[in-house]
């Protein structure tokens, strides 16, 4: 009895094993996916913002090679003008297998059908996405609700302050709320020194809008929310920081960005992200500064700037790319990438590099810096109107809100 069943049973088992090994692109098989069995080449592309980044990435790639020796990574960074080179590759249906996608353009790339959705594989291949900070992961969700990339690292905003200046003004601890910030401001403004260097752009102001309960878009991203009372209030509050003479744009201070203003000791407080540290270390090492969380408004709020690794719809080696992707954005690979301090982790289960705890904690309240297709025009509209308002020394948010709303409506309807 047993012998007669054995053969068909064995055949079935062999058949099941064969199907499990047959990992064709796009196919999700019922059997377990074994990444160590995948072999091939991954064409891997992105950009490099500094030499240290290259070193850290190489460390992560070396770790990958040790764990998955069957997969060869062909790293082809793009020198400059990343989007231009990628546009050409997409249009030829020959994108790299794994590549960077900046969160602000992710909606455009997703809506154009350039990226490959990862949800099915995440569930069938047991990749845990729950540990990603939502403020980073959600940036890569399409309008269909699917995920099109995993964040490789993340940056939220923090408040960098000059410790000596605060002490000199008699402030013992950095401000933690809007009111404290406003109270401290006049004490830090004296002579040619200003309390703040403030960027007149949406990518800073929006954090404060969120903190006041406002937003750029509605939660379903189908309509504008910039014209809400809460949003307007936040804009007025921000503009008042300029109007009262406590803060100024880097341009007006004579610098290219606020980091330089802090470095040259022209201001006491700036709002920037982790990218400030390597800059200060190399260019202005003598400044005694520290990080503190953003001061809270009615609620905590922050912005999450991030870049994903994504697979292209037309990529040739999707399985190998998946293995590399899950390694680099998994706890092991991300640790190798971030431990040197070039970037901050986007996962909760990867410890923050030394000195970056404040910045990493900010990710918990971060809203993704990623909205709808055509966002670049919305961004431009807001920034231009803000510059105009500042040049007129006004705190009236009306034109800013109207221009931005018009741009949002146009983008939603195009």
């Amino acid at each position: 009895m047993r012998n007669r069943l054995a053969l068909p049973l064995v055949a079935l088992l062999v058949l099941a094993a064969c199907t499990a090994n047959n990992t064709t692109t796009g196919g999700s098989s019922a059997a377990a996916f074994d990444p160590s069995s995948v072999s091939g080449t991954v064409v891997f592309s992105g950009w490099q913002a500094s030499k240290d980044e290259g070193v850290a990435l190489q460390a992560a790639l070396d770790g990958f090679k040790a764990k998955y020796p069957k997969i060869t990574v062909n790293y082809q960074p793009i020198a400059t003008d990343y989007a231009t080179a990628m546009a050409a590759k997409f249009s030829a249906h020959q994108p790299p297998d794994l590549f960077y996608v900046d969160s602000s353009v992710a909606p455009d790339w997703i809506s154009q059908g350039l990226l490959y959705p990862l949800d099915d594989w995440a569930s069938s291949r047991n990749f845990d996405t729950s540990q990603f900070f939502p403020g980073y992961l959600d940036a890569f969700k399409g309008q269909d609700g699917k995920i099109y990339g995993f964040p490789k690292d993340g940056n939220a905003l923090g408040m960098a302050y000059n410790k000596d200046m605060l002490t000199a003004a008699g402030i013992t601890a950095p401000p933690t709320t809007w009111d404290e910030l406003v109270a401290d401001a006049p004490k830090l403004t004296s002579g040619s020194q200003k309390a703040f260097c403030l960027s007149s752009t949406l990518d800073r102001e929006l954090a404060f809008i969120y903190q006041n309960g406002g937003a750029l878009l509605s939660a379903d991203k189908k309509s504008a929310a910039i014209d809400s009372a809460a949003s307007k209030q936040a804009i007025t509050w921000y503009l008042d920081l300029f109007k009262n003479g406590w803060g100024d744009t880097p341009k007006n201070l004579g610098d290219d960005w606020c980091g330089t203003s802090l470095g040259k000791k022209k201001v006491a407080i700036i709002f920037e992200g982790g990218w400030l540290d390597p800059f200060m270390k190399s260019t202005y090492p003598g400044v005694n500064y520290a990080w503190a969380p953003l001061p809270k408004g009615k609620q905590a709020g922050n912005l999450g700037f991030t870049v994903s690794y994504s697979i292209g719809k037309d990529s040739a080696n999707k399985d190998a790319a998946w293995v590399l992707l899950t390694y680099l954005t998994g706890p092991e690979g991300m640790k190798l990438w971030t431990q040197g301090g070039v970037a901050n982790p986007s996962r909760k289960d990867v410890p923050a590099p030394a000195g970056k705890e404040v910045l990493v904690a900010g990710a918990a309240d971060a809203h993704p810096w990623s909205f709808i297709p055509g966002f670049s025009k919305i961004n431009d509209a807001f920034n231009n109107a803000m510059t105009a308002a500042l040049e007129a020394k006004s705190d009236d948010p009306t034109k800013i809100v109207n221009d931005t709303k018009t741009a949002i409506d146009q983008a939603l309807n195009s």
Binding site: D81, A83, T84, A87, F90, S91, H93, V105, D108, W109, S111, Q112, G113, L114, K251, G254, D255, D256, K313, D314, P373, G374, S376, K377, D380, N383, N384, T387, A388
Partner: protein, 319 residues
Amino acid sequence: MAGGTATAASPRRSLGQDRRQEALAGYGLIAIPMILFLVFQIGSIFFAIYISLWKWGPLGPTGLNPFRGLRNYETILGDPIFWKAVTNTLYYTVIWVPLTMALGLFLAVIVNQKIRGQTFFRAAFYFPAIASSAAITTLFIFIMGPDGLFNGLRQAAGLNPLFQLLGFGPTYNWLGESRTAMNSIIILNAWTTSGTFMLFYLASLQSISHEVYEAAAIDGASAWQTFWKVTFPLLRPGHYFVATVAVIGGLQLFDQAIFAGGQGGEPNNSLTTIVLFLFRSAISDFNFGYAAAVGIILLVVIMAATLIQRRLFGQAPSW
């Protein structure tokens, strides 16, 4: 044409055969370049015209109703940022072209005098044109920055009160303020291109015969009068050539604008040119169809400008 009639010394070939051989030789010699142009340049225009009628992304027509007809053009002509780009580009062209032409002519006239070190000066004036636009713009950004050489020099020279009067503080960011960004680019490009135009004008100057000047001197003309009434008009073909090349180039300003102002044409779109606007639509929004429509509009503008110049300057012998 000279020598067109059959000469008595070549009785072997008939005129018709001659002409045919000449035509064949002509076609043969231009074949490869023309093929390359047709495929890579003219072909691109047809492609651009085609996709300008669609909502076209990197993977082809995209969206629910990709066919747009002329609606891309309508949207462009209704976009205030496009018109800002047009204004910026026209402003740049209208100021930079005559400025650089005048500089080039001025240098050519001076270098054409019998002076020592003529070769050296000729080399010196052409020097800035050699470096790549990236290198030069980087250098320029450094010099015109708030803490740069220019601000430092004017401080050292004690000129700051004068600048303050005009509204420019001691650490004014020339490339970073919307008021002066475009003017700074104009100065940068006038500096680099004046040498090239100088060379073009030198050729024309050298072809003016000595007798003309002698005649003017005999008539008692001063140097100034000689220049304006004799030299300048005789340079008409030179003006035409330089002006045409300059306008074609000026209307396509891109490199320095994007280096100094980034994709956003900072600050406040003051450095947004038509080509930068095209680039932005293509690369930031991946809206190729829209970008192609901008390109076609620009092409029409450039052609119109070239034809107008041809009409205004009359007969252009070298075209």
